[in-house]
Amino acid sequence: TDLEVTHWWTSGGEAAAVAELAKAFDATGNKWVDGAIAGSGGTARPIMISRITGGDPMGATQFNHGRQAEELVEAGLMRDLTDVATREHWKDVIKPASLLDSCTIDGKIYCAPVNIHSWQWLWLSNAAFEKAGVAVPKNWDEFVAAAPALEKAGIVPLAVGGQAWQASGAFDVLMLALAGKDTFYKVFKDKDADMAAGPEMAKVFKAADDARRMSKGTNVQDWNQATNMVITGKAGGQIMGDWAQGEFALAGQVAGKDYSCLPGLGVTDVIATGGDAFYFPLLKDEEKSKAQEVLASTLLAPATQVAFNLKKGSLPVRGDVDLAAANDCMKKGLDILAKGNVIEWTDQLLSADTQKQKEDLFSEFFANPSLTPEDAQKRFAEIIASAD
């Protein structure tokens, strides 16, 4: 049965990873009809939502799991996967359990998580630091200290792409790394506006101010173009999720040799367990519904998980698969995961609305030097105060 699957994985590494999913699904005798929409979730999501609400749903669609699809589920437009999940013991195999919680609404499971993405990485170009004549930093502070040398060598210290989510994400990473897990939860989970306005956060904004200064001259839009600056040594580093690794891999670079990675910016060894999940809209067609179940179980099959995540550079959602082929950076991630140093990410904690406001704030902050950290913090606190 043909099943149309929409997603926004179109960069090199991502596309290669999707191909693994399709291959696995096709192997079950069905056919994966690829509905890729380029240009990040921002472009793709409205289309997906329109189609689901418009009564012309696809067979399956990617969402960041978390709150993005909540209302679609509530409106009864999405398929209940509880049967499949029970049959395949998702509750037991999916680690950490919070991943499945994000898919669960009123006790029913509505999505199949496929990977764990962690945002908390600083990717560094070894070549760039060599050129600048400084050692590759081990943590954020060293990185900031090395910035002037990089600049002198004509290298942009920190690449931050123009898309709004990159600035916002980078800030969240800084915040988790520098202010710690508790503060992070207090602000984003408990929506504590006082905390958001407090001195702890002021430190973070100070750091963000540094980051902003270091990112001057990036002049690219897409995250992978920014990554490419790191790959080619035009930039010293980039705060970006583990998906950036796919790009390094595609460019034939070797972790530890050509590039370095610092999880938690080398400050706090915690990674978030956001990630991608597939949702299955309710279909009238019996056969397609069956195919949906097949796809759901295929996505979580151990072999698929390994193949997919190796390409994607993310971590598998099953604790029971063997990632022997994983590279240096991935192993660091797996270690932290094994230690249980995990945290829920903003996708799960905040509504899309709040996320968007945050993105607006930080994209402005990174682009507009005249917006002082103090003002930005004040506005940040306001957003948190009104967040839901």
Binding site: W9, A36, S50, G55, D56, D222, Q225
Partner: protein, 302 residues
């Protein structure tokens, strides 16, 4: 009585005043036009030149320098092999989808709008102008605002995601400007013609089909050009109201341009851009003269 004989020949004005080809007027006139033409041509030049270069050359040279080594590979890639997600068949698939969308949408939207314009200009019934006013104001509403209501309406009609639905959407959004054009044009035709036809016993549709339509070629050309370019270039409706196997070329273009694999392949992007723009460009180059004539033939008269 003048005495033409005494004057030296040559000094005596006779016939047309001699004009130097390089008079100040001509220099200013053609100079301005040429400078303007350069500004308008520059992007096209850049697109073409870039699409014919290889990536290394792009990284090294500047965008205005002509290609040292002409390669058509970017074109081939853009047309046939560029990837979006798993689909690696470039723009080729989108091309036919675009044709399938553009042809019926153009025809139907023009048909509907021309009948509207005709009814408004010649059969004014009570209230018609009110609806027309709403329509014109509607021309100012950003499309994005209307997506949601339209999704709902199409869903209720059960044609969401079908070609019919998309055609209806294009018809709806083409309607304000087209109706205005047709209404003005029909109003500029002599009313007596319409009266004569009524006395001859022709009804609403007969007058439209037999009398008005054959007289309206200029404005139909204008409408066609506007709609073909508009619909062909449409991205938003194409992506929202279709499904991946019927995505128009612009969606594919967006996918190719935005699916960055490492470095941006500017040459492929430019080739894809040119390929996507080719149809409306050809329409313009071929019928630009008719376009101006059609506009002059009544579209402009308020």
């Amino acid at each position: 009585m003048p005495d033409p004989v005494v004057l030296k020949s040559g000094a005596e004005p006779w016939g047309a005043k001699p004009r130097r080809a390089l008079s100040r007027r001509n220099i200013v006139l053609y100079g301005t036009l040429l400078v303007a033409a350069l500004y308008y041509l520059l992007p096209l030049y850049v697109m073409i030149v870039t699409s014919l270069k290889g990536m290394p050359e792009i990284r090294l040279g500047n965008i205005f320098s002509p290609p040292v080594e002409i390669t058509f590979e970017p074109w081939a890639k853009a047309w046939a092999t560029a990837c979006t997600g798993l689909n690696c068949d470039g723009l080729s698939r989108g091309f036919w989808n675009s044709v399938r969308i553009t042809v019926p949408s153009t025809l139907i939207s023009i048909l509907v709008a021309s009948v509207n314009g005709y009814a408004l200009a010649n059969w004014r019934f009570k209230g018609a102008e009110v609806f027309f006013t709403i329509l014109i104001v509607g021309a100012f509403i950003p499309y994005q605002v209307m997506i949601y209501p339209i999704v709902i309406v199409l869903r209720e009609m059960g044609i969401y995601g079908t070609l019919t639905g998309l055609v209806i959407v294009h018809t709806i959004f083409g309607m304000p400007i087209l109706t205005l054009l047709f209404r003005n044009y029909f109003a500029s035709l002599p009313e007596e013609l319409f009266k004569a036809a009524r006395i001859d016993g022709a009804g609403f549709w007969q007058i439209y089909g037999r009398i008005m339509l054959p007289m309206s070629m200029p404005i139909f050309v204008v409408a066609m050009i506007l709609q073909i370019t508009g619909i062909w270039n449409d991205f938003l409706f194409g992506v929202v109201f279709t499904r991946p196997d019927t995505y128009p070329m612009t969606v594919q273009l967006n996918n190719i341009v935005n699916s960055v694999q490492g470095v941006k392949e500017y040459n492929v992007n430019m080739a894809a851009t040119l390929l996507t723009g080719a149809v409306p460009l050809i329409v313009y180059f071929v019928s630009g003269r008719l376009f101006v004539r059609g506009i002059a033939a009544g579209a402009v008269k308020g």
